[in-house]
Symmetry: C2
Subunit: 239 residues, 2 copies
Amino acid sequence: MNLLLMSNSTAPGRGLLEHAHSVLADVLSGVRTVTFVPFALADHDAYTQIFTNALKPLGLDVVGAHTGDPARLVSDAEAVFVGGGNTFRLVKAVHEHGLIDIIRQRTDQGMPYIGSSAGTNIAAPTMRTTNDMPIVQPTTFDTLGLIPFQINPHYVDPAPGDSHMGETREQRILQFLEENDVAVVGLREGTWLRREDGTLRLGGVEAGGRLFRRGAEPADLAPGADLSDLLEFAPRFDS
Amino acid sequence: MNLLLMSNSTAPGRGLLEHAHSVLADVLSGVRTVTFVPFALADHDAYTQIFTNALKPLGLDVVGAHTGDPARLVSDAEAVFVGGGNTFRLVKAVHEHGLIDIIRQRTDQGMPYIGSSAGTNIAAPTMRTTNDMPIVQPTTFDTLGLIPFQINPHYVDPAPGDSHMGETREQRILQFLEENDVAVVGLREGTWLRREDGTLRLGGVEAGGRLFRRGAEPADLAPGADLSDLLEFAPRFDS
């Protein structure tokens, strides 16, 4: 397993993927062409072009998974990058294109998988900890399960003095834990998880992440934290 | 039809429902007991108690829909108040308890329906414009359809200087419009929609709302705005 699961693709004040050049070069070592999965946004051509430009400085070519039969393109890929956008739209599309089993099989064989935001959400067993609006209805919330716990990308702490009366992100995740006994890693902007087989580490900017488990106080996670124990987690979802 | 669809149940700096006492007295004129639907939160007893206390100053008694057969209790209700919390949990429960058809039928006959947050989301044709996390998977996103357009409760404008890299609320609603040709009313905190048969008005605090339609610039809505035209809207959802 060779996974890079990013909270988001842009750190504040930096260009697209700039904050992650070094870890991308590591994950994609030996890769020449990346297959980009653009289904989380509506304009697949424009979205693929943006990532083509962003990966060029790393000497990488990009092909959009929408430019032919997506199942064939992903099956033959050297590496897959699943971009962010709307997770419900992405999940509907990856099921409709039959990509779930193919990505599971290829990542088991060592194909690098990179996700950002929605692309990171679908690496978890389900999409139940996405922040996105349910603009379309997928047939199921089940996703890739490349890790046995959930991720919440774009994790934000409660803002002091915020007059918004909706739930904070922490309250939402605690509601998830009321229904499901599954660990959740909140990834603050500019951070990521890096899985290499049985090893899992938090990387990226100083903000780090936050770990939520049923029956335990939420705990901050510092960059570099070794989270390999989470790969042994046995998730239990509400039906 | 006698509906009160509130963005949320508490205005900043006020007690629960305090900002809406006058409109609640109007909607619930002649009602002695309100049936409270607490399924959006996990602790039904505690949640019902909170609303029992909040409605007491209006001379109203409250019975929780979970204290017996929910279908029977809603069927026999003088008025229904559906509280906020997690919309996915609420939608799963109202379908499992068979409440959809009963609420449609009773509201058609004039029974007052009050929703707050998640309870307002489910008054729309679908839950596709909720802000909530999909912590459980309902069998369908379809909801009551007491109005032919969507509502986004807790609507917030983009905050200047926000370092959060996720989508703004406006961007999320524009993504909804990419997939569905359905009007969306964003209700800012402390505002509500009041439907009396063929009349629909925006009420509540000065912040007002915001109207989104495919192919049109989003437009602010002032308190008191007459939105009755929206009741003629013919929604078209993505499959």
